[in-house]
């Protein structure tokens, strides 16, 4: 257990203590206990910076399930560190912001911070795990914590709907990804990303390569809200604003980006990868930006804008993968796409984070986020206005902010796509810069709508619930810090280039580097009057025109029929998934245990008889049978007698007692066959189940002994005889037909030497097959909770009536 593992697990472990602190220190906001965790982790991860800058990476390993190749390998390289810093850095700011955003007396803070820490730990796990199975575990944990956080105000219908939607879509993608991981394992025999990369060339022509690629991308696209899976992200905005700023713009939705970046060395050279990543990215970019303009809720605009910006980063990574086709580094103009992707990733986290926080402040101080009700807030909230306008201008790609720089580089990368002599790009590649340009115009428009509709224009006090005023200092600290970063990265982009961008690029495009070499990244403001500059100028001019005439052309959106919307399709699918199985199930689940037993036993007889006959498996061999003594015969007669008596018992009580008699006799058999453990267990189980029957006795209807229908009795008789015959036949065949030696010899030999126990049964239970026991008791516990909740819920309902 290294300090790196501890750092990853720290948020998960420490989250246990949050409810405790929350209870003991009621008067202190629980957020203050949480705040040190991301700060300490941020500082801790900063100490790795010198190492990754030198192109080195740190690997620590703990064995988990070595026989399956599953190890908890933590690896810090450029890419992982970039994300780890983002997660902890933004995390610290978000926690600080949430302390002032969520009232300590009204909210269930103990829940909130546990979920948040759960997410933080899971996310660190995703970006720092080298083993894909471990990463997958953390990946699903992020979906899970996101579900909990979106549904934080679970009494609201919309929160529950949004939480479910995000869960279903991201977990669907996660499962696809797991499939991809397993396919990769089948091809290479390893779960380690580092080893996968070294084997990438060998599997390039494998038949499973394409399916694996598509499966992994499904995981990335659902998580990063790419078209057409983006529909969960706008609904996820039901979460408290700190969560939206953290999970749904800065970190979790970038896990898909991370995945694509991580797998670029494996899949990047494949045409399908380039095609899917780049075109889905650019489509998402255009789609998201166009629909962002339509929205009227501040957070909805930001949600669609996040979708579109994620598409932008995705398309850049796709275009950057093309650089892998050129073996040399010098003059490899396509690496600029990867530089832009990483730079924009950081920039997006800063400006979008600040914008989300500003939207939260507006919501907090005015009571609404609807831009139709807002307006003229500039004079009431000067600081919020300043942060918003800087964030929005950066998002629109205006100088001198960081968004301008990465937007320029984005254009450069897209223009380069047309120059590639791969995949016939010189013919259809022109689509990319054109689409990028169109999307940028819309990005400009919604950025302007966001800030000017809110802060300028007519002040409408009658539409607001509260009298607006500037937010308290505490709420403003985090957005102000983020906005300062927007400006600092805008003026000094090269602060990032050597420290974060170049090492991260080395992780994404390792094959381009010779030993000891590194990417030379230099970001500058002025490139001379080139095509990118004119594209930006065009964006600004057309953007201003469209913004000014927005009221006139926004009716176009109504032309899109609601029925075709993706959300409709999702709702239809979900409804179908519930109603169709419900109908099917209702046809055979009639609520009577008798029928269910009939199904089970009929199935049992049919499948076993078919196998026995089909495989010609019945054998009967008496050569190895021990002699039958008086005791065995007596016991057998007892069992038979008791069973027959049950058939003629008049009351249920008699049946229960007779059934008990059968059970006790069976346990006597175990005594005869020298199996004391089994005999003991059977005895106690019989006792308890008879007691349970007695407890249930009260609830059972009177025994209907005289079922009149002949057919009913005949079927039951047939089934019971059938089961008896089948069990006998199988027992005889199993005894007569030994294909291999019994495993018992192994246990006899090893029980004492390996596990230092003399009771073989117990040693098997707790040691050799401890996993079985662990899961069995878990299942038992779940079953008991199920019974408890079913009965208690019924009781409560009855009380209410």
């Amino acid at each position: 257990m290294s300090s790196l593992h501890l750092a990853i697990l720290a948020p998960l472990v420490l989250s246990i203590f949050i409810p405790l602190f929350y209870r003991i220190f009621r008067h202190i906001h629980a957020g203050w206990f949480v705040l040190p965790i991301p700060i300490v982790l941020f500082v801790y991860f900063l100490t790795f910076l010198p190492e990754t800058m030198r192109g080195r990476s740190l690997i620590e390993m703990i064995n988990w399930i070595p026989s399956l190749g599953i190890k908890f390998t933590a690896k810090v390289d450029g890419l992982g560190l970039l994300f780890a810093l983002l997660i902890t850095g933004i995390g610290a700011l978000v926690v600080l912001y949430s302390i002032y955003y969520l009232a300590k007396n009204k909210e269930k803070l103990n829940h909130f911070y546990v979920y948040l820490l759960l997410f933080m730990g899971a996310m660190l796990g995703v970006v720092l795990s080298d083993n894909l199975i471990v990463m997958y575990g953390f990946w699903e944990l992020t979906s899970f914590s996101s579900f909990l956080l979106i549904g934080y105000w679970y009494e609201r219908d919309k929160s529950r709907y949004g939480a479910q939607k995000s869960m279903l879509i991201t977990v669907f993608g996660g499962l696809a990804m797991l499939g991809g991981i397993i396919l990769l394992y089948i091809m290479t025999g390893t779960f380690s990303v580092t080893e996968l990369i070294s084997q990438a060339n060998a599997i390039f022509n494998n038949a499973l390569f394409d399916p694996a690629l598509v499966c992994i991308l499904l995981g990335a696209f659902t998580k990063s809200a790419q078209f057409p899976f983006y529909i969960w992200l706008p609904d996820a905005m039901e979460a408290p604003t700190p969560v939206s700023a953290y999970l749904h713009s800065a970190t979790m939705v970038k896990a898909g980006i991370y995945l694509v970046a991580r797998f670029t060395p494996v899949f990047g050279e494949h045409f399908l990868w380039f095609l899917l990543v780049t075109s889905v990215g650019i489509l998402t970019l255009v789609w998201g930006s166009i629909f962002a303009v339509k929205q009227t809720d501040l957070k909805a605009i930001l949600a669609f804008s996040t979708v579109s910006q994620l598409g932008l980063i995705m398309s850049l990574l796709g275009a950057g993968a093309a650089a892998l086709h050129y073996e040399f580094l010098d003059e490899n103009i396509y690496t600029v796409a990867v530089t832009a992707a990483i730079f924009h990733l950081v920039n997006h986290a800063t400006f979008k984070g600040s914008l989300f926080m500003a939207a939260g402040i507006i919501d907090h101080e005015t009571g609404t986020r609807d831009i139709r009700k807002l307006g003229g807030l500039m004079h009431f909230m000067p600081i919020t206005f300043t942060t918003s306008i800087i964030g929005a201008f950066s998002m629109a790609g205006l100088p001198p902010f960081n968004g301008f720089l990465s937007k320029e580089m984005f254009f450069t990368a897209m223009v380069h796509v047309t120059e590639m002599d791969l995949f016939n790009l010189n013919t259809w590649g022109i689509l990319f810069p054109v689409l990028a340009w169109i999307a940028s115009i819309f990005t400009f428009v919604y950025s302007m709508i966001l800030v000017f509709k809110t802060f300028t224009g007519k002040y409408q006090p009658d539409k607001l619930d509260k009298k607006p005023h500037e937010a308290p200092m505490g709420l403003l600290i985090s957005p102000v810090i983020l906005v300062s970063l927007v400006i600092i990265f805008g003026f000094f982009p090269n602060l990032l280039s050597d420290s974060l961008i170049s090492p991260a690029m080395a992780s994404i495009l390792p094959s381009l580097l010779e030993a000891g070499e590194e990417f030379m990244v230099h970001i500058s403001f002025w490139h001379g009057p080139n095509i990118e500059l004119f594209m930006t100028l065009g964006v600004i001019i057309l953007g201003i025109i469209l913004f000014k005439t927005h009221a006139k052309w926004k009716k176009i959106y109504k032309a899109v029929p609601e029925k075709l919307a993706l959300n409709r399709f999702y709702d239809f699918l979900i409804e179908g998934m519930q109603s169709v199985p419900y109908k099917v199930t209702n046809t055979y689940m009639n609520g009577s245990i008798r029928s269910y037993l009939v199904y089970i036993f009929t199935f049992f007889i049919v499948i076993l008889a078919a196998t026995l006959i089909g495989k010609n498996a019945f054998t009967f061999d008496t050569s190895n049978v021990s002699s039958i003594g008086v005791y065995e015969v007596a016991l057998a007669i007892l069992v038979v007698l008791a069973s027959i008596c049950i058939l003629f018992a008049k009351s249920r009580m008699t049946s229960i007692i007779l059934l008990g008699a059968v059970g006790y006799t069976v346990s006597l058999f175990y005594v005869l066959f020298r199996a004391p453990d089994l005999a003991l267990t059977q005895l106690v189980i019989e006792t308890i189940s008879v007691a349970l029957f007695l407890v249930c006795f009260y609830h059972l209807p009177k025994l209907r002994r005289f079922e009149t229908r002949m057919r009913f009795r005949f079927t039951n008789a047939l089934i019971s005889v059938g089961v008896g015959v089948m069990v006998t036949l199988i027992a005889l065949s199993a005894h007569s037909n030994k294909l291999f030696d019994s495993i018992s010899q192994y246990y006899v030999e090893n029980t004492y030497t390996e596990a230092a126990g003399k009771n073989m049964v117990n040693v098997i239970l707790v040691d050799f097959r401890g996993f079985d026991t662990l899961f069995e008791i878990t299942v038992l516990a779940i079953a008991s909770l199920g019974i408890y909740s079913m009965i208690k819920l019924r009781l409560n309902r009855r009380k209410e009536e």
Binding site: T687, L692, G757, V761, L765, L774, L785, I791
Partner: protein, 141 residues
């Protein structure tokens, strides 16, 4: 449940109960070497409590033993998972057990196993689960 006159059972159980519980604990601790273990021990303890339930009624037993069996189940699971995961701290695979002999002044040689801790988890879960089921069904009238 209605009150019936079962004086014999009531008198007998006051003595019997301790023997049954003691025996169940013995069976649990001896499990690694002789017949027994957490599962049987747990069932037997549950059986003793069930006997109490039959003799008295649910309310009396709840006053006698104010145990929340659902929490007991959870504690048991924690024991089992904690013992299994604890081996990770020593850099050995999940569910690796350790054992050793200790010499105690009065009791003599005593063999200690982490497997017993795991089995204790099983014991708690079995008691918790059995009693949760019987109690909830019994309370439902």
């Amino acid at each position: 449940m209605r009150k019936t006159n079962n004086l014999i059972l009531e008198t007998a159980i006051k003595v019997l109960l301790f023997f049954i519980v003691l025996y169940s604990v013995y069976i649990f601790t001896a499990g690694h070497y002789y017949p027994g273990g957490g599962f049987i021990g747990g069932l037997m303890t549950a059986g003793a409590i069930v006997l109490l339930l039959i003799t008295y009624d649910i309310k009396t037993v709840e006053e006698l033993l104010p145990v929340n069996y659902r929490i007991l189940t959870a504690i048991g699971l924690l024991f089992a998972i904690g013992t299994s995961a604890g081996s990770l701290l020593f850099n050995v695979p999940f569910l690796t057990h350790a054992f050793g002999d200790v010499h105690l002044p009065l009791l003599g040689e005593l063999s200690l196993h982490t497997a017993t801790l795991f089995d204790l988890g099983v014991y708690f879960v079995v008691v918790g689960v059995t009693m949760t089921i019987i109690q909830t069904i019994g309370e439902d009238e």
